[in-house]
Amino acid sequence: MQQIINFLIRNKTFIIFLVLFSIALGITFQSHNYHNTKLINSANWVSGGVYSTTDNVSDYFHLKEYNEQLLEENKQLRKLLFNREIENTDSLTIADSVFNQYRIYTGRVIKNSYTTERNYLLIDKGTSDSIRQDMGVITSQGIVGIIENTSSGYATVQSVLNTLSEINAAVKNTNNFGSLQWDGKNIDVVQLVDILRAAPIKAGDTIITGGMSSIFPKGIPIGTIKDFNLDISENYYKINVQLFNDMSTLDQVYIIENTDKQEIEELEESLNE
């Protein structure tokens, strides 16, 4: 016993080093797991406060770009609005409940990240603005990611540029669904896998969200097909998708809440039992 205590005292620096190093490794490996609430994340008032202060300053340098983006988006929305009125005269009236299925919140990216393998963004809205885990985040151009951790005033977003990210996606105007992943190489290009070999695809086709999960509604633009080849099994395509969004200059984002999400999940769970 005496010897053990002596040994511990003699090597106390090494033991403390080992303890601290294993804690660090533990946090690291925990964060490598898909869909775990992270122990260590930037959704807290200290880092949120620091980032929103610096973002307030740096935003002034991009005001012109943001204005142009908003103008472009308004143009699109107006186009939709004007065309809808004409179409509506002879189409079926859609029940109100369909329009109320998705709620939209706005937010601002106060910390962007795109250089690492697992990128997380920080937005300035949190649980006090009804933001919850697993809500979808988009911009006017395309998808951004999924809410991961929340604090009262801030939330972290798992970017599509994250090797853990997996989002249901489809080729526009077809029923070919696949899963959107990222290989960590190019910040403009993500990969769509599990598209059947029989699917009629060509470079330049648009990729949209598939609507097979309760996170994103169907039809949100993602990008266009850059090139594609067969995977190892030769039954599925691995498609490189050029993103519509420039992930390095994100600012204003929309957060989508699916009000039927709980109902859908309960139903799915009852099926699994």
Binding site: I23, L25, I40, N41, S42, S47, S113, Y114, T115
Partner: protein, 169 residues
């Protein structure tokens, strides 16, 4: 003694803020960022008595960077590792005969400082990127990121050290 504590705490806060607000967003050539918060570990007093607090503070600065950049625990692991290895690296860089208790990094020759910093930074970056990428298939990518980021960090650290030592003298 009090003076040392205050100056170390100030250095801690300033380096963390500089790192997360400025140096994490440089993205030189698309992916290169310098990690200048290492200077805290370089500057921490070389005292045998304070080795354990030194390990704790190094862990803490790594953890702060991790919290800000959502990177799990990669910075904590790399910082604790180089804090533990610092005496070994010092022996390689400065030779055995040095009196470490009174050693000031700004008083060393350029060659010694260069060796010391590059060993420390290379070890740190190697652990950092190995844990971050964590895939044997991407060994080349890990080495590429390690070497280029290390050069970037080294240059900035040398500039910082010469800037601040001149002010004091």
């Amino acid at each position: 003694m009090n003076n040392t504590i205050v100056s170390n705490i100030t250095r801690f806060i300033i380096l963390v803020l500089l790192q997360v607000t400025l140096f994490n967003h440089i993205d030189f050539l698309g992916y290169l960022n310098p990690y200048i918060y290492i200077l805290f570990i370089v500057y921490f007093p070389f005292d045998k008595e304070t080795r354990i607090p030194f390990l704790f503070f190094s862990f803490l600065i790594g953890l702060s960077i991790d919290i800000f950049s959502d990177s799990g625990g990669v910075h904590s692991a790399a910082s604790v590792a180089i804090a533990y290895l610092r005496p070994v690296i010092m022996r390689w860089a400065f030779g055995l005969s040095y009196d470490y208790q009174t050693l000031k990094i700004s008083k060393t020759t350029f060659g010694q400082r260069f060796n010391f910093l590059s060993l420390l930074i290379l070890t740190h970056h190697l652990i950092l990127f190995t844990l971050e990428i964590f895939s044997f298939a991407q060994v080349v990518n890990i080495l590429k990121k390690t070497i280029f980021s290390a050069i970037f960090t080294l240059i900035l650290c040398l500039i910082f050290i010469s800037l601040f030592s001149r002010k004091r003298s």
